[in-house]
Structure formats: C-alpha cells, structure tokens
C-alpha cells in the first residue's frame, strides 16, 4: 500500500490525477473501518489532513463555502447558528471522538444513503465543489448521488468544499435509531424553510438507494403556505395538510428491509418525522417571524 501525504491542494490534485484509483482519507471514520476490517486494500491512499485549504470556511457571494475537511465538531461550534439543520445532524453523529474527525466531505465521498449530512444538504439545496487538475465544478447536491454509495465524481476529482446558503428560515433534522446515541439512521429527515423564496426543502436519509428529496411533498406544502398566505400571516397549518405532507414524504422513499429496520417501519416513521419536524420548524417561524 502506498501512502501519499500532499502538503497543498494543488499537490493533492496532482496526486489524484496520477493515481485515479487512490482512496482519499481525511477523518478516517469510514475509510479506516474498511481497512481495519479488511474490506478494502487500496493500492494507494492519499491523506488530505495536511491540506490547510480543506479546513477553512468563509462566505462567497451569499453562500457559505465550507472546506471538505471541516469536522462535525466545528460545524456545531462555528456554524451552528447559520446552518441549524446541519448542526442538528452533526450533533447526532457518533460520539465526540467521531465528531472531532468526521467530515461532511467524507460523507459526500462515501455517499452512503445513511450519511447524516445528506438530508440537511438536500433540504438546503447545497452544492458540492469538485476539483481536479483540469479545473473545478459545482454540482447541486440533488444531482450528486447517483446510486447506492455512488456519486457523480470523476476518478481524477477530489471534493474541495460544499456550498450552502446560511439558513433563511427554521430548519430541523430528525434521525430514528434503536438506541439513544451512536446510531446509524434507520431513517432520517431534514427540513429547511426558506422564508425569502417561500420554499420548503426536504431531505430523506436511509430510506432509499440514495439520499433523496420529497419533491411532491415540497410542492404540496409550498402551495398550502402560499394559498393560505401563511408566510405573511403565520397561523398553524391544518392537521390534514400536515398528514398529507407526511404521506407524501413517506411516498418519496423507497426503503428496504435490513438489519436495522423494515421497509414498512421506515415508511411509517418518515411520515411521523415529517409531520413533527415541519410542525417544529413552522412553530419556530410563527414565533420569530416579524409581525
């Protein structure tokens, strides 16, 4: 096994171009499990932890551009107010030890449908910035997941950053697991209210071959809020509409039975999570919206 340790971003990109099959490692919370359990034996591994650029974040034309190496702990501590949904998801990740190393970049790279970062990124319409020696491009996260544990990256690319707007309204994230800490999601749901654009964003995890959005649910609820002029005059949403929203979210999932749960349960649970988390987000909007 060859171990490569680039000291800069250009060096990292050059190494990936020269070794397209190389496995990048940052926090190691996925990659090291694969190696320790003898599931993967990459010929080459590229350690990205010395590339300072990956650990930085800043504002760029209204978007937060967050380096792929920023850990969950830092997202909670430094970005919690601006990205409340992602911070909530980060708080549910593993343990302090895992949060200190795990990254959104790593979540995106392994593209496991159970990754906790995916639903909030989907709900907020984030972008994934990919780079190679031939340049960089930004892929909407909604187009990034193309199959189970497969993403839209080319072999010569690395994930540089993800871009997301600071929250323009209340956000929520919920994850169902069979114990109260350190769980891989049985299913998860994120919601982001955009009071500027008057849109409802959703993201579903662990309930389909890839993380997905609930497009019909989003359209439905947007219409409910528009028709009732509820953005301007916030009032509770009718329970029938909430129930319908939940049904539509559940219908967007394509879950399976596995060791963590049954398909039927996942469908049921998603409807519950959707109703509840929308209610919490909408209640927060009602409390905090300017009169």
């Amino acid at each position: 096994m060859e171990f490569l340790q680039p000291a800069s971003w250009p060096e990292a990109l050059a190494m990936k171009a020269a070794h397209p099959e190389a496995l990048p490692i940052a926090g190691g919370t996925d990659v090291m499990v694969e190696i320790n359990f003898d599931r993967q034996r990459p010929a080459t591994i590229i350690d990205l932890t010395r590339v300072a650029d990956l650990n930085a974040w800043g504002m760029e034309r209204g978007f937060l551009r967050i380096g792929a190496g920023v850990t969950y702990t830092r997202i909670i501590d430094e970005l919690g107010e601006r990205l409340p949904g992602l911070a909530m998801a980060s708080r549910t990740v593993g343990s302090p030890q895992i949060r200190n190393r795990g990254t959104v970049g790593g979540n995106l790279g392994s593209a496991s449908p159970a990754g906790d970062a995916h639903p909030p990124l989907l709900a907020s319409n984030a972008l994934v910035e990919l780079a190679s020696t031939s340049g960089s491009r930004r892929v909407p996260v909604r187009e990034f997941y193309i199959g189970p544990k497969r993403n839209a990256m080319r072999k010569d690319e690395l994930i540089a950053a993800f871009l997301v707007e600071p929250g323009k309204g209340p956000q929520q994230f919920s994850k169902v697991g069979t114990r109260n800490a350190m769980v891989i999601a049985v299913c998860s749901f994120a919601i982001a209210l955009d009071s500027e654009r008057r849109q409802v964003g959703t993201g579903i995890g662990s309930a389909a071959p890839t993380p997905v959005t609930a497009g019909e649910a989003e359209t439905f609820m947007k219409a409910v809020l528009d028709e009732g002029r509820l953005w301007e005059r916030p009032a509770p949403v009718a329970s029938s509409a909430l129930a319908r929203f939940g049904e539509l979210v559940a219908a967007a999932a394509r879950p399976i039975d596995d060791v963590r749960g049954t398909a039927a349960y996942r469908t049921h649970a998603l409807a519950v999570l959707a109703r509840r988390s929308f209610t919490w987000a909408w209640d927060e909007y009602r409390r905090t919206a300017p009169a």
Partner: protein, 156 residues
Amino acid sequence: MRVSCTVNGRRVTADDVWEGESLLYVLRERLGLPGSKNACEQGECGSCSVYLDGTLVCACLVLAGQAEDRDLVTVEGIGSAESLHPVQAAFVEAGAVQCGFCTPGLIVATHDLLRRVPQPTTVQIREALAGNICRCTGYAKIIDAVHLAAGRMGAS
C-alpha cells in the same frame, strides 16, 4: 514506512510500519504503549481514545502516516505511578473500574471533558461519554467518578 511523532512529551519513531496500520496498532505494537485498547477497531467503543494535537479521537481511525509530526497524548501520559491524576484517582475510589478494558478510553475522554467543561452536569457527562462503551459497570459509578473528579479539580 517510518513514522515519527511526539507521544506523551517524548519524540518517538516507528520503523517498518505497514502503510495500512492504524495509529492504535503503532502505539500498541511498535511504541510499547498498549494502554489504548482494541475492543472494536471501528470507532464504536472509544476504548482507543487518545489526544491528537489536543483533540480527542479514536486512534483506531487514524492512519499511521496521519500521525507523522503530530503531538499525541495517550492514557499512559495522564498521571504517573507516583501520582494519579485526579480523574484516575476518582475512578479508583468510586468503584468505576471492573475489568478495566474500557477504563483507559474513559480516562482520556473524561480528562478531555473536564478541561472543556470543568463542572459538567450529569447530562453533559453522559453526552460526552456516549462514545465510550462499558460492558461491566452500567456506567453508574463512572458518572459518580466524573462528578468526584470535577469536584476535586474545581476545588483546587
């Protein structure tokens, strides 16, 4: 490959390291520091908790080469034979040690918690230690030990 780093204040070097070894393996099998434990080797149990540049991590999830030139503190670097750290003394007194396999990881994780939150509530203790699995104690005396240590460290 060769890996050089600082561990518990001393500069050390390990030679002939296979590139796929974890930091945990290097500590235990090459650097003579078997205090960090190998209960799951996938980051689920916290028994290999160490400090990497002052941050609490699972050593089983750090690739050996990633530790190059880094500053590590393991359980062996906390307290000494002559003088236990208050966290260690509290674990002994409170009966928080049975088989003790989880203890090194808990000592480091508790040490980390108390330097960040000197007087944690029980809830904060449970959240901070949620990544450290114990199979023997049911955690009750571990929580007692953390409160005991916090009380003593706060008083001094």
